[in-house]
Amino acid sequence: MRVGIALISLLLVTLFSGCSEEEGIYVVKLSPPDMVEQLKLKQIDGFVAWEPFVTKGEEYGKILLKSSDIWRRHPCCVVAYSENFADEDALKAVVWAHVKATEFIKDGKNREKVIEYASEFTGLEKSVVERALKNIDFTTYPDEGEFRVYFEKLEEYGLLTRDLKRLGYEGEDDFFSDFLRRDLIDAKLRPAKPKEKIRIGYLTADLHQLALYVAIKEGYLDEVGMKYELKQYKNGVAVMEAFKAGEIDVAYLGGAPATLKRVNDDVRIKIIAGVNNEGSAIVVREGINSFEDLRGKTIAIPGFGTVQDFLLRIAAEEHGMKVISK
């Protein structure tokens, strides 16, 4: 019976160690389409996702906070490549096509076409994507100062487990000068014809990454003679896993998972272009009116270590709450 006493006291210890925590926000992991479904079914109290699922989610709830409210002008998606991929011309070609596509999107003359492409790319109705597009700030390179905040916050929240020195860098500056490559953006010349086929990864139905789709539809990639293969992933962490496994050469993904896995798993990638700023939001059901109301509630995120997870943690920290997995 000594065994019984030991077990019971162990149980009590755990329960108490759990209870003594301040309540926080409970998170569950879902894919964005599932998030919308679950919000509709009232199985979750809200979610954090990228456009167009924010606008779609408004049909069943409302926007509590836009990502720009949490962190103004925060960089979101970037284009990165694996250091194992050596063909510089191919990289130049990708960046060139991307920049051109981004300019196409921002040009008001192309509005009709952009909406059409967006609808095709995400599979949602034009009315939805039209509103969603307004929330996204398409860009060609992230602001370095803002990007560094990813690194600092990740470290602060205890998500980073490796020292930069262990990765071979002297410090933050050293790291970022290596991690962020500006040369391909600044050299906006039309590149030479690339030799190899390139494998491009991106996130399913992520409106932030519309530039990729435009580049394909408007023929920019063909124009530079780029042979490519596309691969879809469910979130940025999955993209980093694909880099690790050598499945892709270039990808569109969020800045947070890129930094997180670059440091934690030493996945050798570098960032060569920016894709967008902002464009995410916390969508909640009726009845929740302030961030405080989220205490003890359940919010869905696309994955741990994603930009959305990150934004939620920042907001939670500002309101003195913790993020706890359900």
């Binding site: 160690s17 759990g18 929240y157 934690n264 996945v267 997995s325």
Partner: protein, 252 residues
């Protein structure tokens, strides 16, 4: 006893050597041990819970799923061992489902429980049920079938009815089978829940913990600690049933 300690020490030394000589890209044992203790009691940053809390989540599922499984499997097993007609009928039904590994049921389980509150939890408990049910059923049935017919005959000679015979002879005779069925069922239920948690899109538990630690990256100490916890719990469950076996089967 000394040999057992020697074996464990050898394993740990092997681990040290393998890492220090560069064969294994793993953290060292004492690093893992340190992280294990920290994880046990303090909440881990990404998921916000400590290892004991994760373990309890998993344990709740295993215990509830297994309990339901055993409550159904044991009486059925006894009945199947008792009457050939019941055995033939139920065996056929069972054999349709038994070969399907519990994890293969994952998609169907999620669909079946989609309408309920907390579908993920229910689906996972269901998977544990599937894992624990069949071994217990078969083990119970084996021993029930093997009940000494001479003893049953003796009871009949004294005018005992079916109920008495089942209660006083078949069931006690089957207890070794029931207990080993429970032991194996718990083991498989535990393996199932860990795997199910790893494959789940959301949830909690030790399996989930290990998976998320992998996704977020660079957390080998956490991953190994999680695995150690999983192994420890599996081991303890086994031991507990063995102790029960020894107590109940003193007449052997």
């Amino acid at each position: 006893m000394r040999l057992k300690i020697l074996a464990i020490v050898t394993l740990i030394l092997f681990w040290y050597f393998a890492v220090l000589l560069g064969f294994l890209m793993l953290p060292l044992p004492h690093q893992v041990a340190e992280r294990f203790l920290i994880l046990l009691l303090t909440p881990e940053p990404v998921l916000g819970k400590n290892l004991l809390q994760h373990s309890i989540s998993s344990l709740i599922r295993v215990v509830s799923g297994s309990t339901v499984a055993f409550i159904i499997a044991v009486p059925l097993g006894i009945l199947m061992g008792w009457r050939a007609s019941i055995d033939t009928f139920l065996s056929t039904v069972v054999e349709v489902f038994r070969p399907i590994p519990p994890l293969a049921w994952i998609p169907l389980a999620y669909i079946l429980f989609a309408g309920f509150t907390n579908p993920v939890q229910l689906a996972q408990i269901f998977l544990v049920f599937l894992g624990a049910f069949f071994p217990c059923l078969l083990s119970t049935r084996e021993f029930a079938r093997a009940t000494d017919r001479n003893l049953i005959e003796m009871a009949r000679a004294f005018g005992a009815g079916d109920a008495s015979i089942l209660r006083e002879i078949v069931i006690p005779s089957s207890i070794p089978g029931i207990l080993s069925g429970i032991r194996i069922g718990l083991g498989i239920g535990w393996m199932t829940i860990v795997a199910a948690e790893m494959l789940a899109t959301s949830g909690s538990g030790v399996g989930y913990f290990v998976m998320v630690m992998y996704e977020v990256g660079g957390r080998l100490e956490e991953i190994i600690s999680g695995m150690a916890m999983i192994g420890l719990i599996g081991y303890l469950m086994n031991e507990i049933v063995l102790i029960a076996e020894r107590r109940l089967l003193r007449w052997r």
